[in-house]
């Protein structure tokens, strides 16, 4: 009977049934089998209204979507280009950095490819980086920044992990700090590859221009304080994550709508709706997964999982390696966000048995998912890039392969060198 239900749900999942409905179905069945009424699932779902950390999510997402809709992406590219464009491979490095910062803000990797791809792709082609390199770079860079403050996936991981009251505790601020160096590692490796590629194909270097640098900075006067408000506020401990989110949202709203007027007031509701659409799609999944997590813990599923694998996986190193492969595949299938919500409750308790630090787990979790998002054959971003740049998916698979291998190397370093993540936290 149980087997049949599981089979039906898997078939429905493959058909493309919304994940929230699938998780709700599992939660309802689980509660039912434990002799509880479905109202208990509604009670658990209502806990969405009682989580202070969640306030940051709609606010940061709104800010990100407003920025994406304004001319901020172009200005971001212009400033980084004026700063770094003179380097060999300068524009490619600009692309990597800009994508990372942008995804950190919106949390939506596809939006980054769409919004920044429009600016960067023609520019890369014009400087003769070659079509294959440019496509691969942009597809891979889209998901960069998932572990960079203030990304929504980090907040989600924190919210889910906090359900387990781990020692040491998982704080959102701690996760924000932990992601910096691993993200820097990825950016650095991609930059080195870009420089090497630029040298090899003979990309023309732009001269340094003090005039352009000044103009670019003046052009971006209003956006420049943003990273400092967020980073400074959070790292100095003056602002909690949700407060930094509120300050950012208000600031971006005032700048884009009232000062720069790049988003007409009449268009504001539509942008707000787009942002909340993403938030809603994720939070309904989270709501049901809160119920599911409760049932999983009551039914001691993680414990059973651990005792099942305990015999065959004895060392932490093996566990991490298998976790890597597992997360890559599920990251590909589940597009990042849902993977965090669904997998963390299962993986975290097991990982604690293997003595993995919960904050480090969060970073390696997201670093793996970030790769999974453009892992062939069905990584979401391959399809988004294919639509965006009007190229067959296979072309993008081939183009992003070198970048995938480089980032895979980075992910392995992040996985087996916990100090890289924990250095700034503990």
């Amino acid at each position: 009977m149980i087997l049949l239900v599981v089979l039906v749900l898997i078939v429905l999942a493959a058909f493309g049934a919304p994940l929230f409905a699938l998780i709700a179905a599992v939660a309802l069945l689980g509660f039912h089998s434990a002799g509880q009424d479905g109202v208990a699932v509604a009670v658990e779902f209502y806990r969405l209204a009682d989580m202070p950390a969640l306030i940051a999510i709609p606010l940061f997402t709104l800010a990100g979507f407003l920025l994406a809709e304004s001319q901020a992406p172009q200005r971001l590219v212009r400033v980084t280009n004026a700063l770094l464009g003179w380097l060999p491979g300068g524009l490619a490095i600009v692309a990597v950095l800009a994508c990372a910062m942008f995804t950190a803000f919106t949390g939506a990797t596809g939006v980054t490819i769409v919004a920044l791809g429009a600016v960067l792709y023609p520019a890369l082609l014009e400087q003769k980086y070659g079509e294959k390199f440019s496509l691969g770079l942009l597809t891979a860079s889209g998901s960069l920044g998932l572990i960079l403050v203030p990304s929504m996936p980090l907040i989600l991981y924190g919210v889910v992990a906090q359900q387990f009251h781990t020692t040491p505790p998982v704080t959102i601020d701690g996760l924000f700090k932990a992601g910096i160096l691993p993200c820097a590692l990825m950016v650095t490796l991609l930059s080195i590859y870009s420089i090497w590629h630029a040298r090899r194909v003979g990309v023309t270097r732009e001269p340094v221009s003090g005039k352009e640098l000044r103009a670019a900075f003046i052009g971006a006067t209003w956006e420049l304080p943003l990273p400092f408000v967020i980073l400074g506020g959070i790292y100095s401990g003056k602002l909690a994550a949700s407060e930094a989110a509120a300050a950012t949202a208000l600031y971006v709203l005032v700048v884009t709508v009232f000062i720069r007027r790049e988003i007409a007031f009449a268009k504001l509701p539509k942008v707000a709706r787009e942002a909340m659409l993403l938030v809603g799609a994720i939070l309904v999944i989270l709501g049901f997964s809160l119920a599911l997590t409760n049932w999983l813990i009551d039914a001691e599923v993680p414990e059973k999982l651990f005792s099942a694998i305990q015999g065959s996986i004895t060392s932490k190193a093996t566990f991490l390696l298998i976790l890597n492969a597992f997360l890559l595949v599920f990251g590909m299938l589940l597009e990042g966000f849902p993977a965090i919500i669904i997998l963390v409750p299962l993986v975290l308790p097991v990982a604690l048995h293997y003595d993995v630090d919960p904050v480090h787990l969060g970073i390696l979790f997201l670093a793996n998912l970030q790769l999974g998002i453009f892992l062939p054959p069905v990584g979401m971003n391959l399809f988004i890039a294919s639509m965006r740049f009007n190229k067959p998916v296979l072309t993008l698979v081939r183009a992003s392969l070198p970048f995938f291998l480089i980032l895979l190397g980075a992910v392995l370093v992040i996985t087996y060198w916990p100090a890289l993540s924990l250095f700034l936290v503990r």
Binding site: L12, A13, A14, F15, G16, A17, P18, L19, F20, A21, A24, A25, L28, G38, V39, V41, A42, V43, F45, Y46, A49, P52, I55, P58, L59, F65, V111, V114, A118, P122, K238, L239, S242, E243, A245, A246, A247, A249, L250, L268, P269, R273, A275, M276, L277, L278, G280, A281, I282, L283, G287, L333, E335, F337, V378, F383, I384, M387, R388, F389
Partner: protein, 167 residues
Amino acid sequence: MSEEGTGATRWLERVETGVIASLVLAMVVLASAQIVLRNFFDSGLSWADPLLRAMVLWAAMLGALAAARDDKHIGIDFVAHFVHGRTRRVLRAISLLFATGIAAAMAWYGVGLVKLDYAGTNAIAGIPGWCIEAIIPIGFALIAVRLAVRAFQPPRSDAPALAPELP
């Protein structure tokens, strides 16, 4: 955005967008006011934080409702890349009708939740708790209706939103 539908549904959709936008803007203003009060005046509105948390739930439910309209609920849709025509339509109908059933069930259990607290006295910012909970049955009921309608309509273009044209 959507050209189909009669004047009435279009009007309803406009109301929905307006409500979402007002809610989000209210969140921004309220959360910012809290920071100013806390940091510069050493005070703060005691009801603002619980209200903000409740607004997250409302924003989530309304966002989920909007996502149902735009076919933006997250699912594993790779089978859809390989099937076409009639098969694709049938798979879509089956999976969306399944989701309709679950959403309807949650609306029903949501009514149970509201009933549970209807007599209670807990309130946030003077709003009785059951009024805040009411978004669960109302939201899921509307989501169920919308998913049922969408099940028999062609999928919306899966091009991501915010797509400026490539030059």
